[in-house]
Amino acid sequence: MRLTQGQFSFLPDLSDDDIRVQAQYAIDNGWAVSVEYTDDPHPRNTYWEMWGHPMFDNPDAAAVVFEVNECRKEHGGKYIRVIAFDASPGWESIRMSFIVNRPKDEPGFRVVRQEVDGRAIRYAIESYAVREPEGQRYA
């Protein structure tokens, strides 16, 4: 099941050139661009691992593509995303977020039903991948 989160996730995978153009849009707007990765694709997993520092002073987005590729070398079997922060409101607000790398197999999510308080049911979703310990998900 193909993970759809953030921007462009219903489109075919972005090429490096696509990534560069999108990241350049963020840079030209004065937003700081970061690369992050995770092997826990739950939609409420907001904080992914940071790959290096946010990039504040790189005028050209080739720098972002460079870091994406560095990150792929080490975490190519995981999800990698690019996000852009806008600090101008006085806090960091996310303006852009898009997936740039995904595992070969994406097993998807299952629904967990929990009976509580008599007949009431609580629903949760859980990624099949997280049933394996960290580091062993996605082969």
């Binding site: 290096g52 990039m55 790189n58 005028p59 050209d60 987005a61 080739a62 720098a63 460079f66």
Partner: protein
């Protein structure tokens, strides 16, 4: 940069029009007008510009698709205009569409190499990322290589540089600058660099007459002028200074002029009895130059000691 597939390829090319439209002509003209002397350098840059213009036309017509290698070495003594020309080169490459932004990032060994294990790679990559879209100018690049210390971290920076110069040819151009002989030895010991350098430009020392002219142009740029005595003293200064150690061509001239302005200000302050006119405030006279230690056989120091020098 290579999305020509869906665009119809032109069948002819008007090089003269491309020369005008790209703004290359303006840059070459500016180079000619603002930089005194440097005839061989200007010639090489004109040739390089022509080559790149033709290369671009060939790409547009589908005759070639490879990005040409654009890394360069600028060799010459201090103060011969390498950094200044690198700025113009960045602009030129930008106008020709070979780099996307056209900024120049100037670094030395200390900006690339760290102090302890694990420090160098991130430092070098930071610099490379900053330079992407433009030109990375590595001054005195040979200090990266210190064979006498086999665990020198410079080697790590060299390896990353070589990789990025090869894999990211579309993203940045590297110019390495320094003394010709040391650069030669550096390239001999690191053939990877030599094979990645497409253009070598040599910067000759300026003649005395050229330095006289540079002095006049610089002073004019600062809003001053020489009177007759001042001009003559400056010419003498240049000839004396050249014979001294650490002479740095146009930089020595710039430094001498900065000191002369200081002395002029002091002189005006001490001597002036009444109101001074614009002319007095902007004239450099004989004593402003002659007070220099150079005339007593002393030394004006023009080069900051090199940080990485062994």
């Amino acid at each position: 940069m290579n999305d020509q597939n869906d665009i119809e390829k032109p069948t002819t090319v008007d090089l003269a029009a491309a020369f005008e439209e790209s703004g290359v002509r303006d840059i070459l003209q500016e180079l000619d007008e603002t930089m005194i002397g440097l005839a061989p350098v200007k010639q090489r840059i004109r040739e390089t510009a022509a080559l790149l213009l033709v290369d671009r036309a060939r790409q547009q017509m589908g005759l070639s698709s490879e990005t040409p290698t654009l890394h360069m070495s600028f060799t010459g003594n201090p103060g011969t205009g390498k950094t200044t020309v690198a700025l113009k080169m960045a602009d030129l490459l930008h106008r020709l569409g070979y780099v996307r932004k056209g900024h120049l990032v100037t670094v030395t060994r200390d900006d690339l190499v760290g102090q302890y294990i694990g420090h160098t790679a991130p430092k070098t990559k930071e610099v490379l990322k900053k330079a992407m879209g433009g030109v990375l100018f590595i001054d005195e690049a040979y200090y990266l290589y210190r064979p006498e210390n086999e665990r020198d971290y410079g080697q790590e920076a060299i390896e990353i540089l070589l990789q990025v110069m090869e894999n990211n040819r579309d993203d940045l151009v590297v110019i390495m600058a320094g003394y010709a002989d040391r650069m030669d030895r550096f390239f001999n010991a690191n053939p990877g660099f030599r094979s990645r350098m497409a253009h070598h430009i040599e910067f000759p020392d300026y003649t005395d007459a050229e330095l006289d002219q540079i002095a006049a142009v610089m002073l004019n740029g600062l809003g001053y002028r020489f009177d007759q005595g001042g001009e003559k003293a400056m010419a003498e200064y240049i000839r004396l200074r050249r014979a001294q150690p650490h002479f740095a061509n146009a930089r020595s001239v710039r430094n001498a002029l900065d000191r002369a302005r200081l002395r002029q200000a002091n002189r005006l302050f001490n001597e002036a009895k009444g109101p001074l006119d614009a002319r007095a405030l902007s004239t450099i006279s004989e004593p402003d130059i002659r007070m220099s230690r150079v005339f007593q056989g002393g030394l004006d120091v023009d080069r900051k000691p090199v940080a990485g020098a062994a």
